[in-house]
C-alpha cells in the first residue's frame, strides 16, 4: 500500500508539467477574450505523447499505462486550465474500444479526430444506440466528434451530424459553450455507465482536473500572500490570510488523496470503486470552487479584475464541476454505495 507516485510516475508528472508550462501558459488566457481551440498541430503533438490512449492497454492500441497515470496527467492539465478536450478524447477512445470500433479508437488515439464532451442538460435525455435530449457541449467549436454524457453512459456522435447548436456565452469566457437539442441521432459507439467502470473513470479524470485547479489556486494565493505588503508586512503574516491559505491546503490534500485512492480502486475493480470515484468528484469540486473563491478574496481588489488570473480558476472549476454527473447524483451514490471495508 502506497499512495505516493513512484519514480516512473514522477517522471510522467515532471515531463507533463514541463510540456504544459511551455504550451499552455496562463498568459495565453489574457491574449484573447474568446475561447481558443487547441490547434491541430498541438493536438497532434499530444497524440504523439500518447495522451489519448494513456490508460488503454497496448493490445488495444493504447500507451499501456493505467488510470493512476491518467489521473496524474489530468491533474497537471487541470493546473494550467487546459481545455476539456483531452478528457473527452480519453473517454471517447475507451467508449470506441468497448464498442469494438477499433478503427475509430485508433483514429482518436492518433489525433486524427478531435473530441469535445457534451453533458446532459435535462432529465429526459436518453443515451444508447441513439442519442436524444438536450446537451451542453463544452469546447466543441473545432472538433470532429462529440462525446455525449449522462447517468446512462457515454455515446459518441460526429460533430457534423449535430449541425449548428445554440452558442451561449459561458460564465468562463475561455470555454466554448453550445447547446444541442438532439433527436434520435444514431451513435457511432455507446458504452453504458457500468461497462468497464467507464463512468467512474470519467469521474476520476474530472476529479483529477479539479484537483489540479484547486492546487494551482492554492499556490497562487500563497505566492501572492508572500509578496503583497500591507501595514508594512506581507499579508501572509496575518492569520486572516494565513488561515485562508491553510484551509485551501487542507481542501487540496483531502481531494488529492481521495482522488488518487479512487483512481486505484477503480483501476483494480474494487467493490467500493463507485463510492470512491463519486467521493473524489465531490471532494475535488468542493476544493476547486472554494479555493477559486478564496484565491479571489486573498487577492483583494486585484482578484476581481480581468487582468489577474484569480477569476480564471473559479470559472473553470464551475465548468469542470458540471462534467460527469451532478452533485445530486454523486451524493446519492456516496450515501448508498458500499464504502471501503
Amino acid at each position: 500500500m502506497n499512495l505516493l507516485p513512484d519514480s516512473q510516475q514522477q517522471e510522467i508528472i515532471d515531463a507533463t508539467a514541463g510540456f504544459l508550462e511551455s504550451e499552455f501558459p496562463l498568459s495565453r488566457l489574457h491574449e484573447s477574450e474568446e475561447p481558443v481551440p487547441i490547434s491541430r498541430e498541438l493536438w497532434q503533438t499530444m497524440a504523439e505523447l500518447g495522451w489519448f490512449g494513456l490508460g488503454l492497454s497496448e493490445e488495444l492500441g493504447g500507451t499501456g499505462f493505467t488510470l493512476a497515470e491518467e489521473a496524474l496527467l489530468f491533474r497537471e492539465l487541470g493546473r494550467v486550465l487546459a481545455p476539456t478536450n483531452v478528457l473527452a478524447a480519453s473517454l471517447a477512445v475507451r467508449v470506441a474500444s468497448l464498442a469494438h470500433q477499433s478503427e475509430l479508437a485508433e483514429s482518436i488515439i492518433g489525433g486524427n479526430q478531435r473530441v469535445a464532451i457534451a453533458e446532459t442538460a435535462d432529465m429526459e435525455s436518453t443515451l444508447g444506440e441513439n442519442v436524444t435530449g438536450r446537451f451542453r457541449c463544452i469546447d466543441g467549436s473545432d472538433v470532429e466528434l462529440v462525446l455525449c454524457s449522462s447517468a446512462q453512459g457515454f455515446a459518441l456522435v460526429t460533430r457534423d451530424a449535430l449541425g449548428q447548436g445554440d452558442v451561449v456565452p459561458c460564465m468562463d469566457e475561455h470555454t466554448h459553450l453550445e447547446i444541442f437539442d438532439i433527436g434520435g441521432l444514431p451513435a457511432l459507439a455507446f458504452a453504458p455507465t457500468e461497462m468497464d467502470s467507464i463512468q467512474n473513470r470519467g469521474s476520476v479524470l474530472a476529479a483529477s482536473m479539479l484537483v489540479g485547479s484547486s492546487e494551482a489556486a492554492r499556490d497562487q494565493a500563497t505566492e501572492y500572500a508572500k509578496e503583497r505588503q500591507q501595514f508594512g508586512k506581507p499579508i501572509g503574516v496575518f492569520q486572516a490570510i494565513k488561515h485562508k491559505c491553510a484551509d485551501m491546503a487542507s481542501r487540496c490534500e483531502a481531494a488529492t488523496w481521495q482522488t488518487f485512492y479512487a483512481a486505484l480502486a477503480v483501476r483494480d475493480g474494487h467493490a467500493d470503486a463507485t463510492f470512491q470515484a463519486s467521493a473524489a468528484k465531490l471532494l475535488s469540486a468542493k476544493a476547486a470552487t472554494e479555493n477559486g473563491q478564496a484565491n479571489i478574496l486573498v487577492h483583494g481588489g486585484y482578484g476581481v479584475t480581468a487582468e489577474y488570473d484569480a477569476h480564471l480558476f473559479l470559472k473553470r472549476s464551475h465548468v469542470l464541476d458540471l462534467l460527469i454527473g451532478t452533485h445530486g447524483e454523486h451524493l446519492t451514490r456516496v450515501l448508498h454505495e458500499p464504502t471501503a471495508a
Binding site: 502506497n2 499512495l3 507516485p5 491553510a246 483531502a254 488523496w257 488518487f260 474494487h270
Partner: protein
C-alpha cells in the same frame, strides 16, 4: 501507487481479528472513576500478554516494531471488533513512551517502557498552564536545582486523566533568564510525590475528563530529567510530533464507524416532516452523503501519512492538515446528529449523541487548537512568513 496489502499484512489482519474475537471484553467500559482506570489497565494487560502491546514501538523496548500500515490494520480491526478505546493509557502509549524512546536515558527507558506496555503505570501530560496554552513556551511553572533535585512550584491545566495517573510528562522553566524556548526542561514527575495536588475540572459534558495540577515545593530527582537541563523544548517538539502525527490515528478510523451509525440513526428517526425517516429528507441526505465522502477523504489522508512514513521516520507538518480536517469533521458529524434528532436532541442519555456533541469540541482544542494547526500549515507546509512580533 497501489492499494495492495502484502500477504503478510493480510495474514496479520486475520491474526488480529481472531485474537480480538476471543479477547475483547464483553462488558462495556465504565464511564469514569477508578473502575474506568482499572478497566483500561486490564485491557492493556490483556493486549500485553497476547503479544500486541506497543504495535509501533521498537521491539528492543518490548513493542511489536511494526510499520504504520500494521498499526492502521490494528486500529481498523479494533474498531470492527468494538474493542475498548486506549483511554487512560493514551499519553503513555502515544507520546510519553515514544518520547522516552527518542530522548530518554537507558535507566528511564528500562523502568517506564515495560510498565507502560503492561498497563502497570498510567501517564498524563503536564504541558499547558493557565497563561500558556497555544503559547506553550510561555510556561511559568518553576524548577530550581537544589542538590540532586529540582524543586517545582506552579500549576498545570487541562491534564487528562490526572487523577488516574502515576507519572506525568512535565515541562518546567529552569532558566528564567534564558530565551523563551531556551530555559525549559522536560521532567518525569511522580504524581504521588508530596506537594502534587490534583483538582478535577468539571466540563460542559458534566464529567471531569481533565484536571488542574498544583505543585508546591515538589522535589523531583534530576535523574528524572529527559534530555539536558534547559533543553526541554527540543524534547517537547518530539513529543508534539508524535501527538500530532500518529496519536489520533485510532480516532480517525473510529470516526468512519461513527458516520455509519449516524446513517443508521437517520434511517430510524422520524425526519423533519414528521412522517418519513430522516434519511429521506433531501437536506439531511445531502449532508450525510457529503460527510460520508469526507470521512473517506480522512481515511485517505491517514493512508497518505502512512505512505510518507515509508520514506521518513518522523511525522512531518502535513500531520497538522489531517488533525485539522479530523477536528472539523468530528464536530460537524455531531452537529448533523442533532439536526437528525430534532427535538429529541434535548433528551440526554449518558452515551448518546447529545453527549458526543458536547464532547466533540475537545478535538478542535486538545493537541493544538485548529487555529494553531492552521498556523503550522501556513508556515511550515506553505512557507508563509511568521509574525516577527510573535515571540
Amino acid at each position: 501507487m497501489d492499494l495492495d496489502l502484502s500477504s503478510e499484512d493480510e495474514r496479520f489482519r486475520e491474526e488480529v481479528r481472531d485474537w480480538l474475537h476471543e479477547n475483547v471484553p464483553k462488558e462495556p467500559a465504565p464511564p469514569y472513576g477508578p473502575e474506568y482506570r482499572e478497566y483500561c489497565r486490564q485491557w492493556q494487560r490483556t493486549q500485553f500478554e497476547g503479544g500486541w502491546a506497543g504495535i509501533s514501538w521498537p521491539s528492543e523496548y518490548g513493542g511489536c516494531g511494526l510499520p504504520p500500515i500494521r498499526q492502521m490494520i490494528w486500529h481498523q480491526e479494533n474498531a470492527r471488533a468494538n474493542a475498548p478505546a486506549v483511554g487512560v493509557n493514551f499519553v503513555g502509549l502515544n507520546h510519553g513512551g515514544p518520547t522516552l524512546i527518542a530522548c530518554g536515558t537507558e535507566e528511564q527507558k528500562a523502568y517506564h517502557l515495560p510498565r507502560i506496555l503492561r498497563g502497570d503505570i498510567v501517564w498524563c501530560q503536564g504541558f499547558s498552564e493557565p497563561s500558556a496554552g497555544s503559547d506553550l513556551a510561555a510556561l511559568k511553572t518553576r524548577g530550581v536545582v537544589d542538590g540532586d533535585d529540582l524543586v517545582v512550584n506552579g500549576q498545570k491545566i487541562w491534564t487528562s486523566y490526572a487523577e488516574h495517573a502515576d507519572f506525568q510528562e512535565l515541562l518546567v522553566r529552569t532558566d528564567p533568564d534564558a530565551s523563551k524556548h531556551g530555559g525549559i526542561s522536560w521532567l518525569i514527575c511522580d504524581m504521588n510525590l508530596p506537594g502534587v495536588e490534583v483538582r478535577p475540572i468539571k466540563t460542559m459534558t458534566g464529567h471531569s475528563h481533565f484536571s488542574e495540577v498544583f505543585y508546591t515545593d515538589v522535589r523531583i530527582p534530576l535523574s528524572n530529567m529527559v534530555g539536558e537541563l534547559n533543553d526541554g523544548w527540543r524534547v517537547t517538539m518530539a513529543t508534539l510530533s508524535f501527538e500530532r502525527g500518529t496519536a489520533f490515528m485510532s480516532g480517525q478510523i473510529e470516526l468512519a464507524k461513527v458516520v455509519e451509525s449516524l446513517i443508521e440513526l437517520a434511517k430510524n428517526t422520524t425526519g423533519p416532516d414528521g412522517r418519513r425517516p430522516a434519511i429521506q429528507d433531501d437536506g439531511i441526505a445531502r449532508s450525510l452523503g457529503m460527510i460520508r465522502a469526507e470521512v473517506s477523504a480522512l481515511r485517505c489522508l491517514t493512508l497518505a501519512s502512512i505512505s510518507r512514513a515509508l520514506e521518513s521516520e518522523m511525522p512531518g507538518p502535513e500531520g497538522s492538515i489531517t488533525k485539522l480536517f479530523y477536528a472539523d469533521l468530528s464536530m460537524r458529524v455531531r452537529q448533523l446528529a442533532l439536526e437528525i434528532l430534532g427535538g429529541q436532541a434535548l433528551e440526554r442519555t449518558p452515551q448518546g449523541w447529545t453527549n458526543e456533541y458536547l464532547g466533540a469540541f475537545n478535538v478542535a482544542i486538545g493537541g493544538g487548537t485548529s487555529e494553531i494547526q492552521r498556523n503550522i500549515i501556513g508556515e511550515r507546509v506553505l512557507g508563509l512568513p511568521r509574525d516577527r512580533n510573535r515571540k
